[in-house]
Every structure is written in C-alpha cells, then in structure tokens.
C-alpha cells in the first residue's frame, strides 16, 4: 500500500486511472445493460422522445403530418406503437423512397439509436404494440412443427408454402421471409404492415408467433432436392423445363440430324 501511495504522483498515474475507470464502466455496462430490444422499450426517456420528435419532424412529417395524425397520402401513426416503427424504419421501408404499389425494403436510413428514438416518440403518442424482447422471438425456443401448421393456415397463401414470397394484385407482393430478422417477423405479424393483415395476440399467441419464426428459420438450411429454382413453384420450374430443358433437347436433336463435315 505504501509503495502504491508513494507512486501516486507518478506522471503516468492519471492515464492508468483513466484506463481502469473505462474498463470498470465497460464491465458494469456489459453486466447491467439489457438487450437492445429491451432497451428500446424500457428505457425510453423523455430525451429519447424529444430526439425522436425532432427526427420525426425532419423526416416523416411531410407525409404523416406534423402531429403524426396522418394526411391524405399517409396514415395516422397515433396508436401504431413502437413495433410498427421498428419494423417500417428498421427494414428501410420508411421513409418511403417513391410512391408505388407498396413501400419496398431498402437499405436502412437511420441508426439503431435513431430508430429507437423514433419508436419512442410514436409510442408516446398513443398506446400500441411494443417491440418484442429477444426471448420472444428466439427461433431456438419455438416449435417449428407447430409453426408449420400455423404458417400453412395463416401465411402460406401469400408468402408461399416455405416463405419464398408471392404476388398479390396490381403490383403488390408478399415478400420473401428468409432474410427478415426474427424481431421484424414478429413485428410484422403484430402490426400488419401495408397489405398484410394483423395477427394480434389472441389470434396467434406470442408462443405461436415464435413457433412460426422457428419454422421460417428452418427454411434457411437449403433444399434437400438440389436446385430449388427460387422455390416459387410452377412458374420457375415451368420456365426451366420449357426453355432450358426443351431447348437442350432441340439442340441435341439438331446436332444428331446434322451432317458432319
């Protein structure tokens, strides 16, 4: 202790102390900080809401109105909840790049922190579904067999039997689900973005939603039968059979019949 006390005037002491302090803060943060999803729902402070409002005014109010009550060109956001914001902004669908049949996913425009602030602001406007915790969307905790039965009944008609996506009317489409994060899948079921209907917690319970996420997660392992041609069914398979398959057969027949030189 004496040796330590004797060295406290060493000119390297402040730097060492600073390093120790930083390490301590980091360690405490790692232990205490909740997962990011919880952070978004639980730690929405007045500052976040204020920052979110600023972001909203700058980026969203043109269409959704200065008080988020909606305009002729965009719906009201009062009561849509943090989950809807996290899905729409977190997948890049909002802010919308251009008008069209539906808002398309594109590179995300905001940082996670900004998305959390926007979500906090919109959630403060009216009660709505909040962002699920990471445990609620963990595919490893879901039952993919039960998920398959639920997916077949509720989702497969639009999103295809294994979630490869499909066409709707007039240029709209149900997107492929394989690249969507579990949190965004959960939020989409909960909030029903755009053409998609809502599946509230009475319709599909949180456990059933997690089962569906587990089923979609299973589809990422590839197809056992070789080339899946996009898993789109008769369209891509027919194109392959008629154009490539028949073309090869015709080419071979011409070759067999041609005179050689």
């Amino acid at each position: 202790m004496k040796a330590l006390a004797a060295r406290r005037h060493d000119r390297r002491a402040p730097a060492l102390l600073l390093l120790l302090a930083l390490l301590l803060v980091g360690a405490v943060y790692a232990v205490v900080a909740p997962s990011s999803a919880q952070a978004a729902t639980k730690t929405a402070t007045a500052d976040d809401i204020a920052a979110g409002e600023k972001l909203f005014q700058a980026n969203c109010s043109t269409c959704h109105g200065p008080s988020a009550a909606g305009t002729d060109s965009a719906p009201s956001l009062i009561g849509v909840g943090a989950a809807a914001v996290d899905f729409q902004v977190g997948t890049g669908r909002m802010p919308m790049q251009m008008s069209g049949p539906q808002a398309q996913a594109k590179p995300v425009q905001f940082t996670d922190e900004q998305i959390a602030q926007l979500a906090a602001y919109v959630a403060s406007l009216g009660a709505g579904p909040s962002i699920p915790t990471s445990e609620m969307v963990d595919p490893a905790l879901g039952d993919s067999a039960s998920g398959m039965a639920l997916f077949r009944t509720n989702c497969a008609m639009c999103h295809n039997a294994i979630g490869a996506g499909g066409a709707l009317s007039q240029g709209k489409f149900a997107p492929n689900l394989w690249g969507t994060t579990p949190t965004h899948l959960y939020e989409a079921m909960l909030t029903g973005p755009q053409s998609m209907p809502v599946f509230n917690d009475a319709n599909l319970t949180p456990e059933e939603k997690r089962d569906i996420i587990a089923f979609i997660d299973e589809q990422g392992n590839g197809s056992p039968g070789g080339l899946d041609l996009g898993s789109l069914g008769p369209v891509s398979e027919g194109l392959w059979a008629w154009v490539v398959g028949l073309g090869l057969l015709l080419g071979l027949s011409v070759w067999i019949g041609a005179k050689s030189s």
Partner: protein, 347 residues
C-alpha cells in the same frame, strides 16, 4: 405508256412458266463428299480417342452411381441428402450422356456415310400369288372346322365383345363412389356453433378481433367428429375479418336481418369458381384473392366478385355473439358453398 405494257407481258410470261412440267427429271443422289475423318488419318485417330473418352466417362459415371449408392446414403441432414442426390444425379447424367453422345459421335464421324440406293419392288403381288394366298386362307378355315360350327363362332365373338365390361364396369362404378349430392349443400355449422381458430381450435371472443385482423376459422364442433373430419373441414372453413363499420358497405343478409357483428364478417373460404381456398386478404383494399385463378372478392361489399373467373360471391356465414361474448354461427350458410355442381339450385 410502255412501262405498264412491259410489266403486263412479264406477268403473262411468268404465269406461263408456273405450269409444272409433265415429268420431273430424277435429280439423283448428291455428290458424296468425304468427311475430314475419312481423308485425314490424324482426324480419324482424334475422333476415335474422343469416342473412347466419352464411353470411358460413361463407365466411370456408372461406377460413381453405384459407389454413391453405398458410400453416400441420404442420411438425416439436408446437407447429406443434397450431396447424395447431387452425386447420383450427376453420375447418372454422365453415364447416359456418355453412351448417347459417344454413340452419336461415332456414327456421325467414323461410320461409313455413303448413301446406297435400294430399288423398291412393286407393292401389288402377282395375280398368281394372290390366288394362292386366298386359297390358303380358305383351306385353313375349312381345316379348323369352325365354318361348320356356327354356335362356337357366335359364343367366341360374344365372349370377346363382353370381355371389356369386366374392366369398364368396376372402373366407371368407382367414379364418384358416393352419389349423395345433399352433402354438398350443408356444412356442420349449426345455430350456436362457436367459431374457433384453425388449426388450434380456440373459441374466438368478439372483443379479441381487432380492425385489420384476419382469422382463419373452423367450427368448434369439428373437434368432436370422429370420422370425415377433413371432408367436413374442407367445406366449413371460414375467413373472419373485422372492418371499420364505416367501410362495411353491406353484407348478404336479407332485409331486416344482420349477419355481421359490429363490423365482424365471416365468409366461406372455398372459392365459387373451382373450390380453392381463397385466403389472400389485402388489409388496405379489403380484397380477398384466390391463389389459383386470381378471382378477387370485395370483403367490404358482401364478397362480390370484382375480378376473375368466379361467378358468385363467397357465401356468408351468419354470425352473432353468445352470452359469454364468443362468436357463434346463426346457422349454416344460406346457400351451398364452393363451386357449382349438378342440382345445386334444387333444394
């Protein structure tokens, strides 16, 4: 002045030339051109090697298939199934294409391609031969003794004529099997049957259905069935949607009744075109699409057809709530669900 005259002449001349000659000259065979492999021994050697290579590849392909069958079983993982299928498929392709392409290559490039002419003889035989043939048939008939035994001929012809019935009767008899068309006209929905979620079978409370929701519904009584469950489910499935009552233009109930409950409407999921499950619901337009032939129904306006080959709106299930707040049917559908069938109109 002279130009039209000239052209008229040309026309008449070419018209005259268009007459075919009475007889064509036989153009004979094309002049035989030797191939490279016929004249250049180096090319011959090269083609021989190529054919040998293709046939050897085929042999290796067969060996690969047999080896893969034992060494690479499909196993339990997607990866091992892919590998097994890949090696079997590529091996089979190499084995068959090697024989096919190698054989064709040999025939096209190495085998003699000189044309030979074989004159055709007259199709009609000489009168003498024809007479002998007819006489042989007559003698044979006489020899068999059948010409004198009419009863046996009659029985034989009848046996042959009747034989196809042994195949046709069971075949046609099995078509349809069940001719009770009344089954098409009714489902297991009854007054007071609770609406339950498909496939989990939880009864649905009206207060749980929010605007923009879509619920896939089965009758709760389906659970109690012991046989024919799938048949009954196929007829009874329903799609439940809650609309803002301001968006709901009408439902199919007769005047003075209401078949919806506070904006909640339930329609049969079986398309009136050919019976596919109609379930692609677009929340914003309230349109319901059939995945098979793109028939589109407007849920906000009694499920009338707005596009596609379907001719009738989807039948509506009359619903209300019971004392505990659960959604229940007021009764069966008022009309048969699904596509048209014979005797659909007769009650």
């Amino acid at each position: 002045m002279s130009t039209p005259h000239d052209s008229h002449q040309e026309l008449s001349v070419s018209g005259g030339q268009a007459q075919p000659p009475a007889r064509f000259e036989n153009p004979g065979l094309h002049e035989h051109k030797p191939r490279q492999a016929d004249v250049d021994p180096r090319v011959t050697k090269r083609v021989e090697r190529q054919v040998l290579l293709l046939l050897t590849l085929s042999i290796l392909g067969t060996i690969a298939v047999v080896w893969a069958y034992f060494a690479l079983p499909p196993g339990d993982t997607v990866g091992s199934m892919r590998l097994s299928n890949l090696v079997l498929g590529v091996g089979l392709a190499v084995c068959l294409l090697g024989i096919g392409i190698g054989g064709n290559y040999y025939i096209k490039l190495l085998m003699s391609n000189r044309e030979y002419v074989e004159e055709r003889h007259e199709i009609r035989s000489s009168d003498e031969t024809r007479e002998i043939a007819v006489q042989m048939l007559k003698d044979g008939g006489e020899d068999s003794g059948l010409t004198r035994r009419g009863a046996i001929i009659g029985a034989g012809v009848t046996a042959l004529a009747l034989f196809p019935l042994s195949l046709l009767v069971p075949l046609i008899g099995n078509v349809g099997e069940d001719w009770n068309v009344r089954k098409f006209k009714h489902t297991i929905w009854k007054k007071g049957t609770r609406l339950a979620t498909d496939p989990t079978g939880r009864p649905i409370k009206a207060s749980d259905v929010t605007i923009g929701d879509v619920w896939h519904v089965i009758p709760e009584s389906l659970e109690d069935l012991h046989e024919g469950k799938l048949d009954e489910k196929a007829k009874a499935v329903v799609l439940l949607v809650r609309l803002d009552p301001r968006d709901l233009k009408s439902d199919q109930s007769p005047e003075g009744e209401t078949w919806s409950h506070d904006g909640i409407v339930a329609y049969s999921k079986i398309c009136t075109h050919v019976g596919c499950p109609v379930a692609l619901y677009e929340q914003q337009t309230h349109h319901l699409l059939c995945p098979c032939h793109q028939s589109t129904f407007d849920v906000a306006d009694s499920c009338k057809v707005v596009f596609g080959p379907a001719k009738r709106p989807l039948p509506q299930l009359p619903i209300t709530v019971d004392d505990e707040g659960y959604l229940v049917a007021q009764g069966d559908f008022a009309e048969p669900i699904g596509p048209s069938f014979w005797e659909r109109a007769t009650k």
